[in-house]
Symmetry: D2
Amino acid sequence: MTGELHEECGVFGVWNVDNAANLAYYGLHALQHRGQEAAGIVCVDSDGTFTRTKGEGLVTEVFNQKNLSILNGRNSIAHVRYATAGGGGLDNVQPFLFHHHEGNFALCHNGNLVNSTALKRYLENRGTLFQSTSDSELLAHLIKVSHHRGDHRNFNEKYPMLATISSALNMLEGAFAFLVLTADAMYCMRDKYGLRPLSLGKLNDGWVVCSETCAMDTIGAEFVRDIEPGEVIVINNDGIYSSRYSGFHHHYMCAMEYVYFARPDSDIEDINVHAYRKQSGRILYHEAPVEADIVVGVPDSSLSAAMGYSEESGIPYEMGLIKNKYIGRTFIQPTQELREQGVRMKLSAVRTIVKGKRVIVIDDSIVRGTTSRRIVNLLREAGATEVHMRIASPPYAHPCYYGVDTATYEELISSRLSVEELRQKIGADSLHFLSIEGLYKSGNRCELCTACFSGNYPTSLYDNK
Amino acid sequence: MTGELHEECGVFGVWNVDNAANLAYYGLHALQHRGQEAAGIVCVDSDGTFTRTKGEGLVTEVFNQKNLSILNGRNSIAHVRYATAGGGGLDNVQPFLFHHHEGNFALCHNGNLVNSTALKRYLENRGTLFQSTSDSELLAHLIKVSHHRGDHRNFNEKYPMLATISSALNMLEGAFAFLVLTADAMYCMRDKYGLRPLSLGKLNDGWVVCSETCAMDTIGAEFVRDIEPGEVIVINNDGIYSSRYSGFHHHYMCAMEYVYFARPDSDIEDINVHAYRKQSGRILYHEAPVEADIVVGVPDSSLSAAMGYSEESGIPYEMGLIKNKYIGRTFIQPTQELREQGVRMKLSAVRTIVKGKRVIVIDDSIVRGTTSRRIVNLLREAGATEVHMRIASPPYAHPCYYGVDTATYEELISSRLSVEELRQKIGADSLHFLSIEGLYKSGNRCELCTACFSGNYPTSLYDNK
Amino acid sequence: MTGELHEECGVFGVWNVDNAANLAYYGLHALQHRGQEAAGIVCVDSDGTFTRTKGEGLVTEVFNQKNLSILNGRNSIAHVRYATAGGGGLDNVQPFLFHHHEGNFALCHNGNLVNSTALKRYLENRGTLFQSTSDSELLAHLIKVSHHRGDHRNFNEKYPMLATISSALNMLEGAFAFLVLTADAMYCMRDKYGLRPLSLGKLNDGWVVCSETCAMDTIGAEFVRDIEPGEVIVINNDGIYSSRYSGFHHHYMCAMEYVYFARPDSDIEDINVHAYRKQSGRILYHEAPVEADIVVGVPDSSLSAAMGYSEESGIPYEMGLIKNKYIGRTFIQPTQELREQGVRMKLSAVRTIVKGKRVIVIDDSIVRGTTSRRIVNLLREAGATEVHMRIASPPYAHPCYYGVDTATYEELISSRLSVEELRQKIGADSLHFLSIEGLYKSGNRCELCTACFSGNYPTSLYDNK
Amino acid sequence: MTGELHEECGVFGVWNVDNAANLAYYGLHALQHRGQEAAGIVCVDSDGTFTRTKGEGLVTEVFNQKNLSILNGRNSIAHVRYATAGGGGLDNVQPFLFHHHEGNFALCHNGNLVNSTALKRYLENRGTLFQSTSDSELLAHLIKVSHHRGDHRNFNEKYPMLATISSALNMLEGAFAFLVLTADAMYCMRDKYGLRPLSLGKLNDGWVVCSETCAMDTIGAEFVRDIEPGEVIVINNDGIYSSRYSGFHHHYMCAMEYVYFARPDSDIEDINVHAYRKQSGRILYHEAPVEADIVVGVPDSSLSAAMGYSEESGIPYEMGLIKNKYIGRTFIQPTQELREQGVRMKLSAVRTIVKGKRVIVIDDSIVRGTTSRRIVNLLREAGATEVHMRIASPPYAHPCYYGVDTATYEELISSRLSVEELRQKIGADSLHFLSIEGLYKSGNRCELCTACFSGNYPTSLYDNK
């Protein structure tokens, strides 16, 4: 279902490292798949001076040697994002940077809050002005408001913002991984439900935090551990200090991170993403076997599952679908007229491989159904005699409110059609989805957020319902 | 003294006009001389949706057909600025845009506040976070704070922000021309001292406000009147409403607007700038006549004064100095080595004209003295037998705190040297400045801000001393 | 051996199609892997007016809506290239466009001539001036010289340039696929040895020619047949006319097209590239089996071979190596210092998959050996207990003179080291290469150019030796 | 008549200087007024390696620190051009660079040939292919053809190309200033009629040649002398060698260089351009006096003439018209709709100055008449009671074939209308032109090209009639 769902962001931070801005650049590059519409890096130097470069576009479009070279210091946070419907524009590109005489600070965020409307009203009624339309700006203002409410009575002089940050976090409901960078420390926190990933690593005498471990590997850092749900970690020049802003915590990690979002070489909560997907393919075979000549994965995210299905079934894996690697905003999309003429930029089927074959095609998920129908058509036009579709996740039937840019119920085809109706719609000879049980078994996990499949939302939803 | 002083900004606004964004583009182009480092335009459409394009560079560099075309609506404010020492970066590029559930609004500013340090501390102590390092952001927060202090008790339902804006303006001390754009109205205001210009014009059924009248002429609008010191004008679809936030008011218009900053075709408080300058040249001749063969003006800003001096003295005006028209940030400045080799990008003397002549050279002002010394050298190298320098303003001996990026006392050569010492330093055969009295007489005015010449600052200076 | 070898170009042409320039854009995009340094498109309209857009960079960087929109007409040729050592610069970016009163024409070329030095001398002695340093310009001048030698005595009025083109082609020795576009016809030709691919397709009433069939699939065209070695095809509004410029012809297709260059979904001389590679992996297993836990392919070009090896051996295929998808000239390469710090942009090993495993790693070829040593190191650092390297082609020991930017003999590690010496150098536990016989068997072919493996060059080499 | 006529180019060259490429950049900048559509610089280093940067746009748009830094060596030629109707596109941007085993060379050209059609036919019939549509490429081919015709029998070993260049120049008819750069020498030549300017200067141990002396002044070089009509100067490391390719020679310098094209600080054939213009204004007063209140010049090129008229008449000079300084291709021109709304980007009249006044407006020339009509309207709208137009050149009634992009006879309003008809058309109260005699007297010259005024073309016109 390539391209139908979008993770909203990836975050990256380093503390006390040489070439902090360059490492942030390479780190963001490794996280590019988590957000291709905008990117930014903030650094702070030993004098407390903050510098920032941000812009719209791919990491390679936003940054150049000149605008990276102005970023000074050994400490940095950075961000890539997918521009959500309501909130394009440069003002919404993170990290945000705030000026205050008690000390400037920068902030970036992965995830989505569910009570942002209420929090915005609360702050605006106190006279707060917002300069972005992003939820992520809320935390900054809540920190300052907490401060002036006196929530820093438990002031810890080594970590001056810890009390107010913790107080502010308790007002937030939803999914988040936040990084806050001050002149003296970097604060890293995950929501208490554990919905969004955030990992900690070591690089020489310094530290790295990032949404996915692949960014650590890229810069030669060593994985230490995940930030825990409900935890605030403070990193300063004395090392690491761990604190909890909430006693309640779960590990409802977003199942779609495993299924689709994350890079296959990342480990999320100790489970390798490729391994998860391959295992889901094996389980899918046992849940829905079928006689056929070849197994084909929809590139790129479904290749691991397809290999698992192929290995378990003994049916050979073939490269029957090819994805064209155009990326970035500068690509000129084909017009409707050209698409009708047959111009196919995203996916093409390999006639020589597919012709005369009974094909099992593995995809990671079905969202709107349009891609699936196109894939079945492509394969049939290329001469496939049978097309059996197997989906390595359950039917996607409920919107996500935790940072994934999904459609409404109306657009989610599985909320409207039964599996059999959907099979007819996409024109496949057979169609089967992985069970929800299969999702847990693929990672051998006992907790996951399966809200988009099951409708069981781990948080209250407030006005999102 | 071309290039030694920089006006900080120009503002432009239109209400209820076709092609608002395009008119703003052409208006900013006419104001380009007031700020060459950054530019921005905000529009608001009839649904209350704000759109913005801004960036660093010249107007022609920042805007293109594509990013102008996203600016919708009949109402717009716009800004050009010179990047002051402390405050580069995209965050400081105006207009600023603020989000608030009671209504978004945009704001831009020409001038400089003298009590910004105190106001920032006041706001930060209430929990306010700043996203720019610009003084101009203060007004936005003060408006909201006034609101929540209850200053809208005099609420006027036709002009919902008028009471809070007026209350906020009374907290500001310094020089300003502000434009505030909401979905329903545009608010235009000048400081009570009258330090910075702001003019009102009519375009069909709509309105124009701008720092200089040349921007009106460019777009075919008709001049109506100047905004008065201490006045707030509200423009909405019912027309214009005038209000005073302060009973105290003066017309201490910045004398340097006439002497150097403004475009010669602009009228400032009913005085044409070219006419002012030409008259100052005539007066300068009477104050400091000298026998010579030709009169030469330092281009571009001193040409009018030189013509006045020439006409009054009967000594022919000649084009003995030529200014090269490179502008913009993309010009590659000559290295020190090339400058020593004789590469002269800014000014060159025309040997054929100057050779063997006694030259009177007219400049508008002397700030650091380096340009003057260079001009005298250029003329002598080109064969001038005598060089008499006449300056169409008094010695510039005091820093400006009202929006001009001047040097400190140490850098102002007239604060350290007498006229005779300065004459020796720059190597002229004679040197005379216009008197302060001459400044008033040139425009037949009885009020002016002459702080940079006389040290008489019309406002309190707070911590700027 | 990702990135160590570079195919020099891809060509694309359409005749009599709607949206010719747009199709060329999408066609070039599909051929992007054949040349990432420059791209160009020439169109000719029904009035015989030629328009061109070209530039350095990726297809998405060179073209935009504006510069595509100036390309008019239903006929077009287009080109992507890799900038070879000697010949960067915009002048060398193809298609070339020539002005002549008998009719302008454009030309583009994939391949390399071996007698260019002699031909250049011949032409320069007649007074010819070259505006590029590219071999490809030679054909244009030879056509005109042939004309003035009288080689058009066999003039065919329907195909006015056919005789002179054929005459000129007979002077060329080496590898080529040429497209020549005139106002009346498109001429398409391949060298008589069949070294470089060129395929013909149909699109509604029009025609497509391109280096690889994947470009046809992308734009919805239907494959017709390959251009034959020694053939000149003329396409005009009456249809297709086939002619031979040489009676001698072979099918010495470049083996590296199958092994590395071509896209897996392309068919080259009726053999699907993915299928060839998978088969080579199967044969490689039979030639060099080894006991191990997992098979890992070096992405992207070795994945098919690795799957073949895995299927044939029954050893599971795993995604143990990940390639980062940075592309384009704007990517900021890590400095040496950062590389030593461990920043790894090209490849990373997935610890969770590799740790504690005996790994068979499949690569398509070894050129300089540096990448192989790095891969072995990466796998061992990630915890592999054994690393067995299997190469899906024979030792690359001889330079290519046919359009591949290879190193000299000194740089080709297999020309200096035996397989055992090389194994020690790269630090693998075992190392085996596919046999030359295996190359033929993988495609079930009886002719191939294996010069880089065997030293058997199908053409005379002139001064290249 | 600002903007109605365009000089086509400016050339610049240096030999044996430090920072050759940088000096070329500053030299081109000083010549920017001679061509604003494209620019290029070629350098050659001591190894004979040529490097080039060229592009479309202003000098500041084409060059940046990076692409200047690749230009190595102490010798350079450079070019700015205005894109003529038939020949836009990067291929036509000069300097041209040619590759030949006897030695590469570069070439640039100011002017236009009148026998180019015949020469092109001659060369194409020998098999020559052209890669630009520019006349300027012809010389390069003619040099090589001369060589192979044996015209180098008078070979001079110190100046190896001198004989063939001289032979080739004798085939050219028209207006030119050519620079040819080889590894060993720079050749500089002017046509035998003396139509286009070219001056020689000294810079330390090196040399400078350029279209106008202002480029010399800019880089600190000293004027030596003009290149003579019919002269070829060869500059190499031994110094300067002067040669004549033609015994026939005249000084028919283009009168429009003095009237409009050249920069006022340039000296052309020992006459300062500003001085020429001022004198023409004085003569114009004597030829056509009128009673009025103010004299206004159309900026920028008519200011000198207006000052002359003012001084001679005693009527004060005022800045009644202002030109907006937008330049470059990135400026967004107002649409027709906006122009009708009154948006005036080029010129505006200053109401305060003009209102109630009888105005004498001085322009340098009238080409199409549209600008003149607009100026009269602007002045009347601004309140002028009378508008008397005085033109500092005779009626422009004949096309130029020597490098000025003029209109056809149909478009030249003075070829169709009498002065009185024209006066009515533009709506002036009176209209007078300078006499042809006045053109000669203004510069105290006895030879000039006045073809565009008199129809007396100094050369044969071939097929241009």
